[in-house]
């Protein structure tokens, strides 16, 4: 079973994303902050990471950079979740080392399709 790490500080969003992923047969690892995200990546070595960009403490971009610099290697796809308000975020997140980019709000109809592209 593929394991997906979700880094998201908003409980409702975490539940929403986790629900869709579990329903589609994935194991979900939850992280509530950038630091925790980096830590769990190193410990759990997930198959894919969904990274919210706006996070308390270090943000998603910084967390991605740290993951890319760590021995967790550069092979894990990291998908940035950004908000429409941050138009420059697409480039910023790709520059930080993200593999892909998804805009909030999540559309459950297309969400899995978008995620599975990156495996």
């Amino acid at each position: 079973m593929k394991r997906i790490l979700v880094v998201e500080d908003n409980e409702t969003n975490m539940y929403l994303i986790g629900f869709i992923l579990r329903k589609n047969g994935y194991e979900v690892i939850e992280a509530r902050s950038g630091e925790e995200g980096v830590e769990l990546t190193l410990k759990e070595r997930p198959d894919l990471i969904i990274m919210d960009i706006q996070l308390p403490g270090i943000d998603g971009l910084e967390a991605t950079k740290r993951i890319r610099e760590s021995e967790a290697n550069g092979e894990i796809p990291i998908i940035a979740l950004t908000s429409y308000a941050m138009t420059g975020d697409r480039e910023k997140s790709l520059n930080a080392g993200c593999t892909g980019h998804l805009e909030k709000p999540i559309n459950p109809e297309t969400f899995m399709g978008e995620i599975e592209k990156y495996f």
């Binding site: 969003n13 908000s83 429409y84 909030k104 709000p105 559309n107 459950p108």
Partner: protein, 499 residues
């Protein structure tokens, strides 16, 4: 600021030369007739005194300095006393039965009033508010008492005795007046921080000249003598400097001040406007967070991920989803507008194939068009590489097409892309309800939704306004043509290579 600086830095040699020549001419008249000289000299200073008053009086709301307003009022009365002094001067023949004592008494009265006013003005400066009516009343009473004591009660001490010249009273008075003036100068200098540097200079020079003038008057033996002449010339110049001080404070400074205030408030307004836009941007961001879960969970339920739903529930959840999407579109438009207005919008210029983009957009409308049952066609060159912001271009075209779909019931919608010189024209033509001529200009304004009987359509009212702003940002523009009842054409023109 530039304006006022140039006003205050006008070359001064021309007025200096004119003034010098005027005073020289005045001196020359004394060679012909001293009475003529005296009358002219006094008229000069009287005119200046009245100008001081008129200026100070009319600018009293602009002059933020009690000292100068008070002096302005004082000089009206000083000027009035000087007028009577001039008329009473030996040889004028206005007041029958008086000798040279009368003009000298009036002179002393005028100078006392002037020097005491200069001293009082310093103390008035310390007060926050000055009661102008009270000051006027005080001067009227003082002036009346002075006139009564000279003309009616005749108790004003003698100042000049024919044959022997100035009386000790007159001489002592002039010394006392000089002392009062010196005191007023000191009090003025003590409060120098309340004056503009230039204004203070004028005032100090004026008081110094008045003192010199006073001392000159203690020396003369004849009312037609040289020291009398020098005294009068210094008096004119000293009055002129007070006038200068009031001109600068009452006219030049307020303008500078107004200009400065205007600049400040303009800056503040700009800041506020930006703050407003930033506030809207961050507020909208906050508004989106709850929408994430509304749209997300409605989607989950509609997908039956959390269990089966019946038809009624499907319909209702569909309505929730549509409303939420509408709200989302509205918030996104507001974010875009506030960003554009705050000058914070980021555009990403890169090469992309417009034909591919157009095909994608067309495909995304397939379902909506099918539902309405009309044709959506696309006419474009096989490839058309342009350098612009792909996402923004898409936003505008989607806006055009969704408008067309919204307002068209039958017929067709035609998307046409044509390369023309260095620009590319993307037009969306529909056979919808069309727009009245008078309404076309309203299209591009915020929240201006043109209503046609029973045809108020769901929309944000921001789409076209935003599209135009974005088109302009990309170096292009939007044009709308329409025939009411027959359909409309919206055209986006963009440069092929946005710099």
């Amino acid at each position: 600021m530039e304006e006022s600086r140039s006003v205050s830095k006008k070359p001064i040699h021309i007025p200096l030369l004119t003034g010098g020549l005027l005073l020289l001419g005045l001196y020359l008249t004394s060679l012909y007739s001293y009475l003529l000289f005296h009358s002219l000299a006094e008229i000069f200073s009287i005119v200046i005194a009245f100008c001081i008053f008129i200026l100070a009086w009319n600018c009293r709301d602009l002059i933020d300095n009690n000292y100068l307003i008070f002096l302005g009022i004082a000089y009206l009365f000083v000027g009035f006393l000087d007028t009577i002094h001039t008329l009473a001067y030996t040889g004028m023949g206005v007041f029958k039965g008086y000798d040279s004592n009368l003009p000298t008494q009036l002179w002393i009265a005028a100078r006392s009033l002037e020097s005491i006013s200069l001293l009082i003005a310093c103390f008035i400066l310390d007060k926050r508010k000055m009661k102008i009516n009270l000051v006027l009343l005080g001067y009227i009473i003082t002036l009346s008492l002075l006139f009564m004591s000279i003309f009616y009660w005749k108790i004003f001490p003698s100042c000049f005795i024919e044959g022997s010249g100035l009386t000790p009273f007159k001489k002592i008075s002039e010394y006392i007046i000089s002392l009062i003036l010196a005191a007023s100068l000191l009090s003025l200098l003590k409060r120098k921080e309340k004056f503009d540097r230039r204004v203070l200079q004028w005032l100090v020079i004026s008081i110094l000249l008045t003192i010199v003038s006073e001392l000159a008057f203690t020396f003369y033996i004849s009312v037609y003598g040289l020291s009398n002449l020098v005294g009068h010339i210094f008096k004119i110049v000293s009055f002129y400097f007070i006038y200068q001080a009031i001109v600068v404070t009452g006219l030049t400074k307020p303008q500078e001040l107004l200009f400065r205030n205007l600049q400040e408030s303009e800056e503040k307004f700009r800041e506020l406007d930006q703050l407003k836009s930033m506030f809207i941007a961050s507020m909208s961001h906050e508004l989106r967070t709850p929408l994430n879960s509304i749209i997300g969970f409605t989607g989950i339920m509609l997908q039956e991920m959390s269990g089966e739903i019946n038809e009624e529930q499907r319909k209702q959840l569909g309505l929730v989803k549509n409303s939420a999407n509408h709200l989302l579109a509205l918030i996104n438009d507001i974010i875009d507008i506030s960003k554009i207005e705050a000058g914070k919008v980021e555009i990403t210029i890169e090469e992309f194939d417009l034909s591919v983009l157009a095909q994608e957009i067309k495909d995304s409308f397939a379902v909506a068009v099918d539902k309405k049952g009309f044709e959506l066609s696309l006419e474009t060159p096989p490839t058309l590489i342009i350098k612009s912001d792909e996402r923004r271009t898409k936003q505008i075209l989607v806006n055009f097409i969704s408008n067309a779909v919204k307002f068209t019931d039958r017929g067709e919608i035609e998307i046409k892309i044509v390369k023309k010189d260095e620009t590319v024209q993307m037009s969306v033509r529909d056979t919808g309800i069309g727009i009245r001529k008078e309404d076309i200009d309203k299209l591009f304004k915020t929240f201006s939704r043109i209503t046609t009987k029973g045809r108020i359509k769901e929309g944000t009212g921001l789409g076209l306004y935003l599209s135009k702003k974005i088109a302009n940002l990309l170096g292009g523009d939007i044009k709308a043509e329409s025939e009411f009842g027959k359909g409309s054409v919206f055209t986006l023109t963009l440069p092929i290579k946005r710099k």
